[in-house]
Symmetry: C2
Subunit: 319 residues, 2 copies
């Protein structure tokens, strides 16, 4: 790894892709990555960009004179050893991200993703290919962006994880906080959309699909095998202002026997009750420590990019 | 490492030593440590125990027929490659723990400790020896027991830590919570002593020495170089019940330019305000994520043992 250059390809150059591109370059030197380069980018809108200049994100808005190439084809032809999959979420069949990741693995590349679709819906398939080819699929950014989440268990070897509770969706947590201060649901949702926390179609957040995807991801990580379709899911549409004011949160609960997302009124002594705004939180109940907590941002350009950087360093340190 | 047995020596067989002994044996198989053994124990009271039986802690109370040997001599004569230093805290000169650790390093052994004295007061000396001999000194258990604390930065490579705030002493946090419910200081302290949270002489906790030691340890870890004697320190003796009821906590603050322990009234929106009982918490402000939080137990038999197990796995994975 010392003299050979490690090449990275980015697939999907939206907010996360651009955030990763910039964070990578700003941290390259301090992380000693002189020998690692982002050599290719492929994006549905921007096209195929080879040897991108480091000030690319400043210039790219509206730029369309790069050739449009099918991402799967670009991945197959690439000499990069690491592919970062940053395209859009699709909870139906996880495409096109799944095909991108599968193609990368089958062509001997490690995969980093922040895309919840393939990890929530088709991780078993990806694991099978990954085992066969010996390449990694890392997905830290799918739960709590760059904030330590499931990977915190690396710091407590031997500890058995018994149960997890979490606030895993910042949009609904923000809406519930606004409602606890007197807003009605509609006004709070509009405020969330204005601030860029909620999408134009807020279904995935408000109905709990985003949280349910994270429940499936955590369940898979901890070997509990609940699928996204198995997750008992209730959104926040029926939560009243009064309930919000009394500490109702959209709570994810996961253990060997549970997998649910539902609004729940939390006690004042419950640390999760005090997680406000778009912040995310996990309570991890273990045998040696009892409950431990990790909290922090669960979304954002730089915040999600940090997750991909964490995964990148894990791959580089292992290989 | 595969065929040669890795031998561990425990120095100091009190609550932490016994906790580690038991946790090690209960997790040995799941961690794949068939080739790792605790082969020697040396303790001021119990004496020198070679090839201890795995049910030792059940039998040891009052047991005194093992030979009394000077621990430094036992370390020098030991063929263990890892020494766990679990003796008592001394904030004057960090002895005898410092001598134990120094002897271990000079004799080619890695050191794991949960003892704040040497790490808070004499880490620079230990680092110098450690560099010379190439052996590690790991001390996860000195801050927040086995709960992820400073080591959480391993999960966010590249992120720059700008500032830390923390509740690092469970005893005073418990006392302040009792006071917030109406107890006076004396009654709350007695309750803490009854529950085993406070020692007969509570000075180290109540006057903020324990927190100040942790400030020094964190400062050293993050390269900010504040010594324990530099830490601005105020205990909780002058906190009123009313202040406790309005969210006053014994707060540690550390950055390049700050190192303090003082009672501070926290805002209701501050997550640290809601950390109650003997729980500990760290807020770590970073450039890529903003503030992230880790919370959990900061003391206890099994909880502190987990920290030493975490350090042990780090040494085994590296060597």
């Amino acid at each position: 790894m010392d003299s050979v250059k490690t090449k990275i390809m980015i697939v999907g150059f939206g907010v996360v892709g651009q955030g990763f591109f910039d964070l990578f370059h700003s941290k390259k030197e301090s992380l000693g990555l002189n020998n690692v380069e982002i050599t290719e980018i492929v994006d549905k809108k921007y096209g195929y960009i080879e040897r991108p200049p480091i000030d690319l994100t400043e210039k790219i808005n509206g730029k369309t004179d790069y050739p449009l190439i099918d991402p799967a084809k670009a991945i197959k032809n690439s000499d990069a050893s690491i592919v970062c999959e940053f395209t859009w979420v699709n909870y139906k069949d996880a495409e096109p991200a799944f095909t991108h990741m599968k193609t990368a693995l089958e062509n001997g590349k490690h995969v980093i993703t922040t895309n919840k679709g393939p990890v929530a819906l088709r991780m078993d398939e990806l694991k099978t290919i990954s085992k066969k080819t010996g390449n990694d699929v890392l997905f830290k950014g799918t739960v709590m962006a760059g904030t330590p989440s499931f990977n915190i268990v690396k710091l407590i070897p031997g500890a058995e994880v018994l149960r997890i509770r979490g606030i895993l969706n910042g949009t609904t947590n923000f809406i519930l906080e606004q409602m606890s201060k007197g807003s009605d649901f509609g006004t709070a949702l509009k405020e969330a959309q204005k601030l860029g926390y909620a999408e134009a179609d807020p279904t995935n957040d408000v109905e709990g699909f985003d949280s349910a995807a994270k429940v499936a991801i955590l369940s898979n990580y901890f070997g509990w095998k609940h699928r996204m379709s198995d997750v008992q899911r209730e959104g926040i549409k029926n939560v009243s202002r009064e309930e919000a004011a009394h500490g109702t949160k959209l709570l994810a609960t996961i253990s060997k026997t549970e997998a649910s997302v539902a609004p729940l009124q939390l006690e004042d002594t419950d640390l999760l009750r005090h997680v406000n705004g778009v912040m995310n939180a996990l309570e991890i109940e273990t045998d040696s420590l009892g409950p431990i907590y990790t909290m922090g941002p669960g979304a954002g350009r730089k915040e999600t990019a940090q997750a991909a950087l964490t995964d990148l360093m894990e791959i580089l340190n292992k290989n």
